[in-house]
């Protein structure tokens, strides 16, 4: 059961990574990073149970807290730094 869930989360992580790599707009990447963080939290929680170490849930908690700080920093950056073009032309 835990195994199926963790594989499903890994697949979602790939999808988020693809979006982060391809963009094209800044907001795609920000959302992808945010989603990747959320999936990491879930993966850690599920794997903690899969390996029978539920006391490691502390880590998932730390990730959930820290991830929000990172995303808010990105949003503040985008708000303050004037951007030449809204869609950045990468890759």
């Amino acid at each position: 059961m835990y195994l199926v869930v963790s594989i499903a989360i890994l697949v979602t992580m790939i999808l988020a990574l693809v979006r982060a790599l391809r963009g094209p707009t800044v907001y795609d990447r920000v959302l992808a990073v945010n989603m990747f963080g959320t999936k990491t939290v879930l993966l850690l929680a599920v794997i903690a149970f899969l390996f029978g170490r539920p006391d490691f849930l502390d880590l998932a908690l730390a990730y959930a807290l820290i991830n929000l700080v990172g995303v808010l920093a990105v949003l503040e950056f985008i708000q303050n730094k004037p951007r030449k073009a809204e869609t950045s032309n990468i890759d």
Partner: protein, 325 residues
């Protein structure tokens, strides 16, 4: 099973790393670095290194992103095209990579109980930690006591790094710069305000838990310092930098850095004065086990103070520079 997970995450890690090297947009590179850090932390976790995973989460995913973005504020978003000797670079990298791959042939299998690293010191640490310290987290025992000198060195490195950044960035900004310390932050956005404010006390509480529970669960001073620093950075993001400096002024931050390093060194000196060796905690109290625990709690507090102060000083040093448009 573990191997499959680890291989999968490592593959994603390599893809992300290649993309970071490839892109010329620095903002994208920062975003991908954040993903890189999350992947790295998951890998540490799967390999059962929970303390390292917690550090990577607290420092890599949170604070590094914030500091990278603060640095990006001071520069342009696109990497300048650089004229490099591509052929020479490729040759050097190919030679080095094949040397490293050749060296891995001699490496013991992952998790091999006969590997040299599991023969010599590790069993001794595992055996002696319950006897000397009487708490379950061997990592804390090694960091705080068995290899206390190394950790002292790390704290001094953090101290030196903080001073170095302040030396370079702390000079007076040029005339007519656009820096405004009363920049609003995310003050006018309702949802981040409400959620963020709610979260700050819990972040600090969790930091303190990690600090003082480090003997029993993953964590310790380093992770706690980073968590508490990120709580104050969150406050700075929500209320503007000036408000964060009002709450925790620069003098307090520098005091924390200096006080933390001094506390660690001071415990060592007190041990000498009480008739032991430098950082030999057993002489601190009559009961050697309680003395070890007291010593470790004291030096972990020093580590936490130094890391928290240094990270926040660096953050403020970046934020105080004029933004480059």
């Amino acid at each position: 099973m573990i191997i499959v997970f680890a291989l999968f995450l490592l593959t994603l890690l390599v893809i992300t790393a290649l993309a970071i090297v490839q892109t010329t947009n620095l903002f994208v590179a920062v975003m991908l670095t954040s993903i890189f850090s999350l992947l790295m932390a998951s890998n540490f976790f799967i390999l059962d290194a929970a303390d390292v995973a917690l550090t990577e989460a607290a420092v890599g995913a949170g604070i590094t992103t914030v500091i990278f973005l603060a640095a990006l504020m001071l520069t342009t978003e696109h990497e300048k095209p650089h004229l490099s000797r591509r052929k020479l670079n490729t040759v050097v990298i190919t030679i080095l990579a094949s040397l490293i791959i050749y060296a891995t042939f001699d490496k013991p299998r992952l998790g091999d109980p006969d590997a040299p690293v599991h023969q010599h010191l590790a069993p001794w640490y595992l055996e002696k930690t319950p006897e000397y310290m009487d708490f379950p987290n061997v990592v804390t025992a090694i960091l705080g006591s068995f290899r206390g000198y190394d950790t002292l060195g790390e704290v001094f490195v953090v101290f030196a790094a903080c001073i170095g950044v302040l030396f370079i960035l702390g000079v007076k900004p040029p005339e007519g710069s656009t820096y405004n310390p009363y920049r609003s932050g995310l003050k006018h956005h309702l949802i981040p305000q409400v959620v963020g404010r709610l979260l700050i006390p819990f972040l600090v509480l969790f930091g303190l838990y990690v600090q003082f529970h480090g003997e029993y669960s993953p964590g310790g001073g380093f992770q706690a310092g980073a968590l508490i620093a990120s709580a104050i950075i969150l406050y700075a993001l929500l209320e503007g930098e000036a408000a964060a400096l009002r709450a925790v002024p620069r003098s307090v931050l520098l005091g924390l850095v200096i006080g933390g390093a001094t506390l660690y060194g001071g415990v060592g000196v007190v041990c000498i004065l009480m008739g032991g060796n430098f950082l030999e905690y057993t002489v601190l109290l009559d009961n050697p086990v309680a003395a070890q625990q007291t010593g470790i709690i004291l030096i972990e507090a020093g580590v936490g103070m130094a890391v928290c102060g240094a990270l926040l000083s660096i953050f403020h040093a970046f934020a105080a520079r004029p933004m480059r448009v």
